[in-house]
């Protein structure tokens, strides 16, 4: 396995591989011995109570958080301190944030073109063409010239998804994408994510939307206090959870 080339291997190699991952915030042990493998095309939903470390877990994948122990391999590239490696990994990983993080001083179209032009060195017209394609896929093409401040939450999140997709990532990370949205806008974002999943995108999604998990997930992972407690396909997870903590969590979240 050559380390110099950014490998886009055949489909047999896992997309993400975490082994023995440990992370501390000062004294607080936020991730404990995480072992996780994500195959290409897999859709994984990560759930758990607040403070369980689920957001931290996926933020470690594109190095928004740095782990202290253990290894992460993304798309065949082993993560090290080397910034070149990290940027290589980041180019393969798309991320959608809870608070959208759109660039307010740029229009929707410019938001989607920025990284294509500056990272992928595409000419502007080519970047805009691709951007418009993705904006149409998330059904927001008519807002292309608007600024994020003029859009609703659901519209902004869909733009954020399109912006991440414009980089044609191998895997998409979703960090509670609908948690900051009003209930009536959650559906429009989830619809886009379901569509994305149906097209075969590898996805790792931290969410409380259990309906989404049931529809789309290949595996549901439950985390509590920095550990993976349970990991199972949705049918098993929801109908036959093994751990007591999982059962407690499910009763709380599915109760209403």
């Amino acid at each position: 396995m050559s380390e110099a080339t950014a490998s886009r291997d055949n489909g047999t190699e896992p997309m993400i591989e975490m082994t023995g991952l440990n992370k501390w915030y000062g004294d607080f042990h936020v991730l404990r011995d995480i072992d996780l493998t994500v195959q290409r095309g897999e859709r994984i939903v990560v759930c758990g109570p607040s403070g369980s470390g689920k957001s931290t877990l996926i933020r470690c994948i594109n190095r928004l958080e740095a782990h202290q122990q253990g290894g992460i391999v993304v798309g065949g590239i082993t993560m090290t301190e080397d910034i070149k490696r990290i940027e290589q990994i980041r180019r393969q990983v798309g991320m959608v944030f809870q608070h959208f993080n759109l660039f307010p001083h740029l229009s929707v179209l410019e938001n989607c073109c920025l990284s294509q032009i500056w990272v992928q060195k595409k000419p502007r017209h080519e970047a805009e063409k691709l951007a418009m394609e993705y904006l149409e896929r998330v059904q927001i093409a008519e807002q292309a010239k608007k600024y994020p401040g003029q859009l609703s939450g659901g519209q902004q999140q869909r733009v954020a998804i399109a912006r991440a997709l414009c980089m044609r990532p191998e895997v998409m990370l979703f960090d509670e994408p609908t948690s900051a949205l009003d209930p009536e806008m959650i559906k429009e974002v989830l619809d886009v994510m379901v569509e994305l999943a149906r097209e075969g995108m590898t996805m790792l999604c931290v969410t409380h939307e259990m309906g989404f998990a049931k529809t789309v997930a290949d595996r549901v992972i439950f985390m509590d206090q920095g550990q993976i407690i349970e990991e199972a396909p949705p049918e098993t997870f929801f109908n036959n959870p093994r751990s007591e903590r999982t059962k407690l969590f499910l009763s709380q979240i599915l109760g209403h």
């Binding site: 594109n62 940027e87 980041r90 798309g94 660039f103 001083h105 229009s107 920025l114 990272v119």
Partner: protein, 372 residues
């Protein structure tokens, strides 16, 4: 539960008293009635303020304009009634050009015209190619201006910086200081927020040092102390020393202003840039700095204005800027007693430049509000 009929409800509850419709009269009288004389109390206050205005402004106008003397060559032209602007107009050449040799003044005029033209091109809306003009203003123009003003090449007679003075010197120092302190300040602010200890340490030391000493001390040290430490064969031009000192001094202040803006940008912006694969300088230049600088335009322009007025401190190292040239005129026995005119004129010139900067900055802020 009985439903009460609507008519009995409205008749029993008291109505809010009727209000007068807005005053429909337009024009000057309408405005006066509405704003100054809308009620008896307002009318009385308006009349009192008007009386004050007349008492103060009228004599001022009388002194400054109506009874003033404008043209002439010597003190005899001053009638003594109002302001004697002859003091200014007779000495206008030295006030604007300092001691620049008369035969070479055309060179300074060219630089003035170019500067005004560049600024106008960048400021006025809808003019094209502002990017190229800005690039020229930062690269080509300083070189051209330097050779025109200092001479010594292309057949131009050399003019020592000791002979530069007046408004021309003030503008030179101010422009160099303003244009230099902003980029250096931005780099220092980024450096202070860096995670690399060496970069951060150097930035902090630089900022805290230059902010800790008064500008007068800096100028004094640069002018008097530096030659003591440097072998006598090397002589740094006095104006150059002043320019470097002023630029470094103000860049420390600018750094803190910019840092305030950087701090207020949500970390998510940087994270979104990271997740898209952008490198550090790309994130700073395309995402963070545009937002941060826009936020602190008031602070930046504040610093520019302070810099402009502080150019008068070069007096302590023997460079005669606008204010000092006017002051030195006051020691001329022929013009004793006209200090008022001198200082009022100096204040007016400073005010015009500083207020223009302020107005322009407000226009920039308004323009940048489009979109968000």
């Amino acid at each position: 539960m009985t439903t009460s009929s609507p008519s009995s409800e409205t008749m029993s509850t008291p109505m809010i008293p009727q209000r007068e419709p807005p005053d429909p009269r337009r024009g000057v009288t309408g405005w006066l009635r509405k704003n100054l004389f809308s009620s008896p109390l307002n009318s009385i206050v308006s009349l009192i303020m008007l009386a004050f205005a007349v008492l103060i402004v009228w004599p001022l106008l009388q002194w400054a304009i109506i009874q003033a003397d404008w043209l002439g060559d010597t003190r005899q032209a001053c009638t003594g009634e109002g302001a004697c602007w002859v003091f200014i107009s007779a000495r206008l050449e030295s006030i604007v050009y300092g001691f620049y040799p008369e035969s070479e003044i055309w060179r300074v005029n060219i630089v003035f015209v170019m500067l005004a033209g560049l600024i106008a091109w960048l400021v006025l809306p809808r003019l094209p190619s502002k990017g190229w003009v800005a690039l020229f203003a930062l690269t080509g123009f300083p070189i051209i201006a330097f050779f025109l003003l200092a001479g010594g090449a292309f057949g131009l007679m050399p003019v020592s910086t000791r002979d530069w003075g007046g408004l021309m010197l003030t503008l030179t120092i101010a422009v160099v200081g303003i244009v230099g302190s902003l980029p250096i300040g931005i780099l220092l602010a980024l450096g202070r927020r860096s995670s690399m200890p060496l970069v951060r340490g150097v930035s902090v030391v630089f900022i805290e040092f230059w902010r800790g000493v008064p500008l007068i001390t800096v100028l004094f040290m640069a002018s008097v102390m530096l030659p003591l430490f440097v072998p006598s064969e090397i002589e740094f031009d006095k104006l150059l020393r002043a320019l470097v000192g002023i630029m470094l001094f103000w860049s420390a202040y600018m750094a803190e202003v910019v840092r305030g803006g950087l701090q207020s940008i949500d970390k998510g912006q940087d994270e979104a840039g990271m997740s898209l694969g952008l490198g550090y300088w790309q994130r700073m230049g395309l995402i963070v700095l545009p937002q941060a600088l826009k936020l602190v335009i008031p602070g930046i322009v504040n610093t520019f204005i302070a810099l402009f007025k502080d150019t008068s401190l070069v007096l302590v190292i023997g460079l005669l800027d606008l204010l000092s040239i006017i002051q030195s005129g006051l020691t001329d026995p022929e013009w004793l007693g006209y200090a008022m005119e001198g200082y009022v004129f100096a204040a007016l010139v400073y005010w015009v430049f500083c207020f223009s900067m302020s107005r322009y900055s407000q226009r920039v802020e308004r323009k940048l509000h489009t979109g968000h």
